[in-house]
């Protein structure tokens, strides 16, 4: 039972354009959602998070939107840069238990 789903295994975006990574969830008990970024041969690093009581959180080029009624969240990266090429994991946090999505590989084309 995948409680956190990232349905796009990969996404290709032109440099300078907007990247939108999507995530759906089934567990209504998640308190927070987090996004982690992973480069090849490295461990994941924390990127941005959002509380379930908010609908938007912004940090520089990264914005996460949460639509609770649709059980959907998205990560927007504007503008996309070559260094953004990585795998992005969507993570649900329910009472300190983390549930990870399968990841979306983002490729930024020059």
């Amino acid at each position: 039972d995948q409680q956190v789903k990232q349905n796009s295994p990969s996404l290709s975006v032109q440099e300078g354009r907007i990247s939108i990574l999507n995530c759906d969830y089934t567990n209504s008990m998640f308190d927070y959602f987090l996004w982690y970024k992973k480069y090849p041969a490295e461990g994941p690093t924390f990127l941005i998070s959002i509380s379930s009581i908010k609908d938007k959180n912004e940090d520089g080029r990264f914005t996460v939107f949460l639509n609770k009624s649709a059980k959907h969240l998205s990560l927007h990266i504007v503008p996309s840069q070559p260094g953004d090429s990585a795998v992005y994991f969507c993570v649900g946090d329910s009472n300190y238990q983390l549930i990870w999505g399968a990841g979306t590989k983002l490729i930024i084309k020059p």
């Binding site: 956190v4 927070y32 490295e42 924390f46 994991f89 983390l98 999505g101 399968a102």
Partner: protein, 115 residues
């Protein structure tokens, strides 16, 4: 900067061998975790520890055990390696309040192949 160090980047072991994966963190974090990452499955929690000598099972503890004798070190043990334990293993640590306000800090991973 937090540093989480995993002792090996690559390991090749034979079926039935006892395997030790070591992890050390240098930020005095209370919490430590072992995950495995497989294609299409994201990260799955094997075991975690809130304190020295404390351990809790994660989602997939079968075939694994752990040891935390010192705060900075968390070891994952495969008692009798099997081919279905071929995977990328990731160690992480975090400070006491774990979750939104306390992100996990990961090591670079150990790719284990069991033949």
């Amino acid at each position: 900067d937090v540093k989480v160090t995993q002792s090996s980047r690559y390991l090749v072991k034979r079926t039935g061998e006892k395997v030790f994966l070591e992890c050390v963190q240098d930020m005095d974090h209370e919490n430590m975790f072992w995950y495995r990452q497989d294609p299409g499955l994201g990260l799955r929690l094997i075991y975690f520890s809130y304190d020295v000598k404390m351990k809790e099972k994660g989602d997939i503890p079968e075939g694994y055990s752990v040891s935390r004798e010192k705060k900075e070190r968390f070891s994952l043990i495969l008692e009798s390696a099997s081919t279905n334990q071929t995977s990328m293993y990731l160690c992480a640590s975090s400070s006491k309040v774990w979750g939104y306000n306390s992100p996990l800090h990961f090591g670079n991973g150990t790719r284990l192949t069991v033949t």
